[in-house]
């Protein structure tokens, strides 16, 4: 088996047996802190000597236990994560952090915190608006978050701890960007499935191990002299968290290439950096409030026109579409997702304004819809080819 096969095999193993490494570390006494959303400041967890661990759902596992405690009108992705947690799949966690993201997360907070009975549970109140006073408030909130972790680990989390955590998380983001670069070639050197799988796995590892893994993957992909793929339509995926590979696989099996995205576990998690030259709390507040472009955050329409507003709100889509030379986009949302759902017409208008053909899919986070998705994606790819 060649070296490059070894690393991708490891990615596959960690992806299939999700949480394998976290489980080992937990047995050795490391505190693993779960999270679900891009809004959770991970640097704080690392600075406290714990390991941030992104929870995943599973589209192939029917939601059973979860439905006894959480309504079916909750975002199906969150329901799936909750269901797996209740079934003990994440029993290695020492705690969880839930941010003020969407209603599904906030209103489910008590169900999570009381049902899992973990030693640590913390809610980070992310402001809904981006104003000067929001940053001040958010820094206080980050401090309260820091104090809660100090109580858990029974040691202070200093600014120096935070600064080194910021550095190592930024390194991670740099490496992810380098991976994305391999998709700029036409056809891409690295498939969307390979990249997304790697990112899912990377978010389940301690940050240093995550960096090492990314280095190994970068080294392996770097040995590819040319693309192993046939040319095909270049696709951007837009939406929330897409942590199961089926959507990417469908597109790539049908001859398309997922070359970039604006999803949570893609560029939303990995693109914005923390400014290392600012005071750590200020810099973290800036990154997570101003830097994370999630529909949950209200951004004022400064242009005073609809066209100007969508350009400001969805400019990242334009940036990624242009940088990665996309031929089309798939806006993929989950049923019952109010933050994304209310943006669908505006997003459609934005895609039209940048002349990128769009397929909009509202899905259920369930393997049961794969057939329907295939049919619609096939028609879309044929249309744009």
């Amino acid at each position: 088996m060649s070296e490059k096969t070894a690393v991708m095999s490891r990615v596959d193993r960690y992806y299939e047996d999700y949480g394998l490494r976290a489980k080992e570390l937990s047995r050795e006494g490391t505190k693993i802190i779960g999270y679900i959303c891009s809004f959770v400041p991970l640097e704080m967890i690392t600075a406290a000597g714990c390991v941030p661990f992104r929870l995943r759902g599973n589209i192939r596992e029917p939601i059973t236990k979860g439905d006894t405690l959480m309504e079916t009108i909750v975002c199906p992705f969150i329901r799936s994560c909750f269901d797996l947690a209740l079934k003990g799949r994440y029993d290695f966690l020492s705690g969880m952090v839930i941010p003020h993201a969407c209603d599904s997360m906030v209103r489910g907070y008590s169900a999570w915190s009381f049902s899992l009975e973990l030693p640590y549970f913390h809610f980070v109140n992310i402001p809904s608006v981006v104003k000067e006073s929001s940053f001040e408030f958010f820094q206080h909130e980050l401090n309260a978050y820091r104090n809660s972790l100090e109580d858990l680990v029974k040691k202070p989390v200093t600014d120096a701890d935070l600064s080194s955590a910021i550095k190592v998380h930024n390194q991670n983001r740099t490496k992810v960007r380098a991976l994305y670069e391999f998709r700029k070639a036409d056809p891409p050197i690295l498939s969307g499935t390979e990249l997304s799988k790697t990112l899912v796995v990377a978010a389940s590892l301690p940050i240093h191990e995550s960096n090492e893994l990314l280095d190994e993957v970068l080294a392996e992909i770097g040995t590819r002299q040319e693309s192993p793929f046939q040319p095909g339509p270049r696709i951007l995926i837009d939406g929330p968290c897409v942590d199961n590979m089926e959507l990417m696989k469908i597109i790539e099996d049908l001859g398309g290439h997922v070359v970039t995205d604006t999803i949570c576990n893609g560029t939303r998690d990995n693109w914005p950096r923390v400014n290392e030259n600012k005071a750590p709390l200020t810099a973290i507040a800036n990154r997570y409030l101003a830097g994370i472009n999630c529909p949950k955050t209200y951004r004022e329409n400064k242009a005073g026109t609809f066209e100007g507003d969508i350009k400001a709100r969805f400019g990242d889509i334009g940036y990624f579409s242009k940088s990665f030379k996309v031929d089309g986009a798939v806006l993929y949302t989950y049923k019952f997702c109010d933050p994304f759902g209310f943006e669908v017409p505006a997003r459609k208008a934005y895609y039209e304004s940048i002349h990128v053909p769009l397929l909009y899919l509202e899905d259920l986070y369930s393997a049961g819809t794969i057939g329907q998705l295939k049919t619609r994606i096939q028609a879309f790819l044929e249309m744009i080819e």
Partner: protein
């Protein structure tokens, strides 16, 4: 004939006050249209429970309550065509149907340049500006008006961020609420500046102070009025409370709202003196424990009444606690007071919840009402399109049953003798929507109610002394 077009049977009210609400709501909807035509006052789209009415009224801004208009469309079974309009624009039917109804209506009105045909009560007036509210709940409150700007790009938005600390059983919320208060004050002062800019008027802080004091008096009065419903038989139920919430939610900071509750209080006192209940022969006292009602099916309350069930209390729309019971700092600054009141309300059940192992504020509130209002069972409504008020209900019932078992019953023990054990309150979750009538089946709902009544009756008969 489609169910949508069938005129619903009017719900019978127990109080004159509740019966007077319809014309009142009609008046403030038609009033906004008159004001639009006259052009003398500024109109603002906005949401209930944002603690900003005093600011708006002090500056003579007329609120256009968009949730209210959607609710009216629901009551009149006239929402479907606006929901379909929203769907045709690309909004999913799984989203908040209040917002969908409003967006469908707005787009249609903007497209026509006039009100859509047969708009309920003359339709919803075009606003001069919109005030949305990013709270710790309700995503649609942030997204609705932003989406509406696609059809009304010239109408500016001010979004007030109104957070509160979430409950932590191990932490006293007062450790952090200082910076929450400062932030909310900043947000509200920002709103004042925005409204000053939009209206060209300066805030009259003396007037604001008076209106804040009036709202406080109204809050206390609402509390005292609703507490009268502890009487047996209960003089007014949740069906009526879905009407009497109107002055509380849409008319705060007005003398009219205060006077309404003066009259309601007097009416309830008179009914109690006469021993007159919501139902003639009160058998079961139920708590409406959560969820917005199905506005097109308010008759279900009458159906429950017909089975001897009365609703002395509800958590829905009872968004007040008496000011004198709030543990908040005193201040002469009206804006600072509003911010403290906001925090005081949302954290009101925190201390109590911390003192009962396994409890949580929403559960604690249920327990408080169950005890104070001598409740026999809990009914909730799960509206599929609203996560804000409807996510967490199942867990609350589960947790309630786990930590609170108030009913003594005799169970046959292994020795053949009756052992006294404690059991939880029976509960019922109804399922449909706030205004999307396609989600509702009268037959299924009533079958569920019948089965629930049988359970209540069985508990009543086996209840041990």
């Amino acid at each position: 004939m489609a169910e949508e077009q069938r005129k619903p049977k009017k719900r019978m009210t127990a109080t004159k006050a509740a019966a007077s609400i319809g014309p009142m709501v009609k008046e403030f909807i038609t009033g906004t249209n008159r004001a639009r035509a006259e052009g003398k006052r500024k109109l603002a789209y906005t949401f209930i429970v944002c603690h900003h009415e005093e600011i708006l009224r002090a500056m003579d801004v007329l609120p256009v309550w968009t949730e209210n208009f959607a609710g009216i469309c629901g009551v009149k079974r006239a929402a479907e065509r606006f929901l379909q309009k929203a769907e045709s624009l690309g909004f999913s039917r799984s989203l908040c149907t209040y917002a969908l109804c409003g967006l469908g209506f707005d787009q249609w009105r903007e497209e026509l340049g006039e009100m859509p045909p047969d708009a309920p009560w003359g339709g919803q007036a075009r606003p001069d500006f919109m005030i949305s509210s990013g709270q710790i709940l309700c995503d649609p409150r942030t997204k609705w008006y932003q989406a509406a700007q696609q059809f009304m790009p010239d109408v500016p938005i001010y979004n007030i961020d109104l957070p509160h600390p979430l409950f932590d059983p191990k932490k006293d919320h007062r450790e952090v609420w200082g910076y929450y208060h400062k932030y909310i004050v900043d947000q509200l002062r920002g709103l004042v500046s925005f409204v000053e800019e939009q209206t060209g008027k300066k805030m009259d802080y003396d007037r604001l102070r008076e209106l804040v004091a009036l709202s406080d008096r109204t809050w206390n009065l609402v509390h005292e009025t609703y507490e009268l419903r502890q009487a047996v038989p209960c003089p007014m139920g949740t069906g009526d409370a879905m009407n009497t919430m109107v002055p509380l939610c849409f008319m705060m900071a007005t003398q009219e709202a205060y006077d309404f509750y003066v009259n309601l209080k007097q009416e309830l006192e008179e009914k109690i003196a006469r021993g007159e209940g919501e139902v003639e022969d009160e058998k079961y006292r139920l708590l409406w424990g959560g969820g917005l009602p199905a506005w097109y099916a308010l008759n279900d309350f009458n159906y429950l009444n017909s089975k001897g069930a009365s609703f002395p209390a509800e958590t829905t729309y009872r968004m007040v606690v008496p000011i004198y019971e709030m543990d908040i700092p005193e201040t002469d600054d009206p804006i600072e007071h509003i911010a403290w009141k906001w925090l005081g309300y949302w954290t009101h059940w925190y201390d109590k919840a911390r003192n009962r192992p396994g409890s949580e504020p929403d559960v604690e509130r249920l327990i408080e009402y169950i005890e104070n209002y001598k409740i026999d069972g809990v009914v909730m409504h799960l509206a599929f399109s609203c996560r804000t008020w409807h996510v967490g209900l199942i867990w609350q019932l589960h947790q309630l049953a786990k930590i609170y078992r108030p009913i003594p019953v005799l169970m046959l023990g292994g020795n053949g003798k009756g052992d006294k054990v404690q059991r939880e309150l029976p509960s019922l979750i109804l399922e449909s929507d706030i205004i999307d009538i396609t989600s509702y089946s009268e037959m299924d709902t009533r079958n569920k109610i019948d089965a629930f009544i049988e359970t209540l009756e069985s508990v009543r008969q086996t209840k041990a002394a």
